[in-house]
């Protein structure tokens, strides 16, 4: 066998007492897709940051084609042909889509000047390749783009630069199946071109579909490195978690409680004439493609967006428009999909983030009580199996999955009637995922909550929901019962009918 493109020896990274990565020796070859799997906090992203020179290893070395390298800067890693697509996509809001994609590689005319026409032409071509031409314009400003669109920009940024090794850190966590499919085509093409690919995902089906080899991390250590040939999701799970998992979606009886939430003809800037109802103990799933307006629907219900028409009622009492405080007081909780920008206070500790919505429970006489807060949160975080050195640690020191658990902790601390979860398992590992599913069960079955789950992962959507609504173009297009809902049916309803026709002519299917 030839020398691998990249080889690490004893790669180790500690953050103070936290041993994020220990002694990793791993090879990555050109023309191969290496899947890197592991639970939340297993050290996958840390490994990528080491490879890209974001920070140096505590110990150990990296070799490229047999030569040892030390990257002080991502720039140096790029020069060596390494590119990483980061788990949390970053964009420059005030620049155009084109400039965002080509940051660092802007095309020149002469020595100094930016070649605008080439920039736009290249971007248009790239968008075409990625099937994003309908969704993004090269000259569009990036402010206001959703996570999926940002994720695609991040992917295009790395892929267009043409590295010899490209690492994808959970690229699909906010993508729908359609976009995922297109991304896979691109990854396969890269592999055919001899590029070394590292692929990180918590969606194990993707791993079995795409990978040539699977490396498993557990608690910062490499526990296995084996060919993907014949590997199953169960086996990966066992290696990751170290134990078998029970059935993710056990059968259950559909809920029969009273209606707790009713939305009647709600129209906001982003959604049109939406009506739905949710019973106590029921899980209502909402499916649809990216940009269908699901998040916007949730934000409308929660009072983050103003309603221009329609009503939202909790237990028959109408909520004022555009008032999140009233929504919370009435018992609605909302975990947004965009953790970093919409859910977490990045400068604050885990504890402070967790108690944000329950001031009355952690205070006496208007003053904060640390002991009450600790008492309340310690229990919930244990139940959530939150991995943290201390509740006083900054929330940014957590891995992506554990950050999501903090957000859920926040809502579990509060007394809810309705919980809206927008992509609740985005970036969450199988183990934690099944914990979150159990938790949702527990909330509906024993506490009688109504839960709305927005998810782009069809198995999850179908497995969890008692009823599924499908949205497209800001409207509800279809409704399915648990037994009618199938992946095919949901997909068919989700695709906007006839892209060129005026959408107003197509009234919703099953309202």
């Amino acid at each position: 066998m030839t020398t691998p493109f990249l080889r690490t020896r004893g790669l180790t990274r500690h953050f103070g007492p936290v041993r994020a990565l220990t002694d990793i020796s791993l090879d990555v070859r050109g023309g191969e897709v290496l899947a890197l799997v592991g639970e939340n906090g297993a050290g996958k992203s840390t490994m990528m940051r080491l490879l890209e020179g974001v920070f140096p290893p505590t110990r150990g070395s990296i070799e490229i084609e047999g030569c040892e390298v030390r990257f002080a800067q991502p720039r140096e890693a790029h020069a060596a042909g390494i590119r990483v697509i980061h788990q949390e996509p970053e964009i420059v809001p005030d620049l155009t889509v084109a400039e965002n994609i080509f940051t660092g590689d802007l095309p020149r005319t002469g020595r100094f000047f930016l070649d605008w026409s080439k920039l736009y032409a290249d971007t248009a071509a790239l968008l075409e390749t990625f099937g994003m031409a309908g969704e993004l314009r090269p000259r569009q400003q990036c402010a206001g783009l959703g996570p999926a669109q940002r994720q695609m920009i991040e992917i295009m940024r790395a892929v267009q630069a043409g590295g010899r090794m490209i690492a994808f850190d959970e690229p699909t966590s906010s993508l729908t199946d359609e976009e995922t499919g297109r991304l896979f085509d691109i990854i396969r093409r890269l592999r055919a071109e001899g590029v070394a690919v590292i692929y990180i995902s918590h969606r194990l089906a993707e791993i079995t579909e795409l990978a040539d080899r699977v490396a498993v991390l557990r608690d910062g250590e490499l526990v296995d490195d084996l060919p993907a040939e014949g590997i199953t999701e169960e086996k990966i799970t066992r290696l990751m978690v170290g134990r078998p998992l029970s059935d993710m979606f056990p059968d259950r009886d559909p809920a029969t409680g009273d209606v707790v939430l009713e939305v009647d003809g709600m129209t906001t800037e982003h959604v049109t004439d939406v009506s739905l109802s949710l019973r106590a103990g029921e899980v209502l799933g909402i499916g649809g493609l990216i940009g269908a307006g699901r998040s916007e629907l949730a934000k409308g219900i929660f009072g983050f967006h103003r309603r221009s028409a329609g009503r939202v009622l909790i237990d028959g009492v109408e909520l004022p428009s555009g008032d999140t405080a009233a929504a919370i007081a009435a018992g609605i909780g909302f975990a947004p999909e965009d953790r970093k920008d919409e859910a977490l206070l990045l400068m604050q500790t885990i504890l402070e983030n967790a108690v944000l919505c329950v001031p009355q429970k952690v205070s006496s006489g208007g003053f904060f009580s640390r002991s009450k807060a600790l008492e309340l949160i310690t229990g919930i975080s244990k139940q959530m199996r939150l991995k943290a050195s201390s509740l006083d640690a900054p929330v940014t020191s957590l891995s992506g999955g554990n950050q999501q658990k903090v957000v859920l902790t926040r809502w579990l601390a509060s007394d809810l009637k309705v919980l809206i979860l927008d992509e609740p398992t985005r970036g969450i590992d199988v183990g934690a995922r099944s914990e979150i599913y159990d938790l949702i069960r527990n909330l509906t079955d024993t506490q009688g909550l109504g839960v709305i789950v927005i998810s782009s992962e069809l198995p999850e959507l179908l497995g969890l929901s008692d009823r599924v609504l499908v949205m497209a173009e800001g409207r509800i297009r279809a409704e399915f019962d648990r037994n009618e809902a199938s992946e095919e049916a949901v997909m068919a309803a989700a695709i906007p009918h006839g892209q060129s026709e005026a959408p107003a002519q197509l009234e919703g299917a099953g309202q």
Partner: protein, 329 residues
């Protein structure tokens, strides 16, 4: 990775806890402050540590202290109030006019507080409901409030002869001058408010990430307006102190550039430009450093031009050391 599941490090070694409580940044400021004390103590030990001189230092920063603390609140909330210097000037005029009209100290106090609060309300409404950047609004009202002060006073200073009022600037209780008591009261009040009360703590959320704050049910507009009103009232307190100390109301002298000093002290004290960070103790330490430096340079007779050099260098050095220690830990 450790396997600890969150249980919030009760017990454990206490030195670490102490540092964590005071805050690394504050410790650096403390080190800088002690450094200055040592330097001036060595150079002018004969007078520097005399009670009288220490009180002078306290008196010298009383007004700045009040403003730096309330500015910290504004910056934590994600805003900035550049108009405070002008509000101080305006309230000295309002206070002096009220006393001239009534010869009652109470009227002066009331005028200062009310005018300050109103000025803050104007800022708050423009920023919150006009949706205009706080820097722009308060740069604008800085000029507006000063203009109003000049128009009211016709640019002249207005003398205050009321002894009860003048006492606020000069009187003593238990040996401590009244302005220092006021500073202490403001500091304790803000400390409790910002760090202990639920409402105060929410400002950290609002400044840290307004979207998260809204999705957590905080009514951001009212919070915003409130903090500018508070800032205005505190500027009013500053104006009252200034009027009482100088025995006059005057639109500019004493208030010009005060906002920059207050903002400097707040940043020195650990505030972050983008909001969500900053402490009352940090602001006080920042103010103490400025006060000790001003006093020490007079005592050691540093020539004017070198004072500028020294102040600029100190500001940079203090923050540099602070950040350096912060990064090391």
């Amino acid at each position: 990775m450790t396997d600890q599941t969150a249980s919030a490090g009760r017990g454990g070694f206490s030195m670490h806890r102490v540092i964590e409580r005071i805050g690394i940044h504050n410790i650096s400021l403390l080190v800088a402050l002690v450094g200055l004390l040592v330097i001036f103590g060595v150079l002018r030990g004969d007078v520097f540590f005399s009670t009288r001189n220490l009180l002078n230092i306290g008196m010298g920063v009383a007004i700045l202290g009040v403003l730096a603390i309330s500015q910290t609140g504004v910056i934590v909330s994600g805003g900035l109030d550049i108009s405070v210097g002008s509000i101080v000037g305006l309230t000295t005029v309002a206070t002096a006019m009220a006393i001239q009209a009534t010869d009652m100290a109470g009227a002066g106090l009331l005028a200062g507080i009310v005018v300050g609060g109103l000025a803050g309300l104007v800022n708050g409404l423009l920023i919150t409901y006009g949706r205009i950047n706080a820097v722009i609004v308060t740069l604008g009202t800085m000029a507006i409030f000063r203009g109003i002060a000049f128009i009211l006073s016709n640019g002249q200073s207005i003398s205050i002869f009321n002894d009860a009022f003048r006492w606020i600037g000069t009187g003593r209780i238990l040996g401590l001058p009244a302005p220092i008591w006021i500073l202490i009261a403001v500091a304790i009040g803000f400390y409790i408010f910002m760090h202990k009360s639920i409402v105060g703590r929410n400002y950290y959320a609002i400044g840290g990430n307004p979207i998260v704050a809204r999705l957590s049910g905080l009514n951001i507009p009212s919070y915003r307006v409130a903090i500018y009103i508070v800032s205005g009232i505190m500027a009013g307190v500053g104006g009252i102190l200034l009027a009482a100390r100088t025995g006059s109301g005057q639109p500019i002298s004493g208030s010009d550039g005060l906002e920059l000093e207050a903002i400097t002290a707040a940043f020195l004290g650990g505030c972050a430009m983008q909001g969500g960070r900053g402490t009352v103790v940090g602001a006080l330490l920042g103010v103490a450093i400025i006060g000790v430096l001003n006093n020490g340079m007079i005592l050691t007779a540093v020539p004017t031009f070198y004072q500028m050099l020294a102040k600029g260098t100190l500001l940079i050095l203090a923050v540099f050391l602070a950040e350096y220690r912060l990064n090391k830990s």
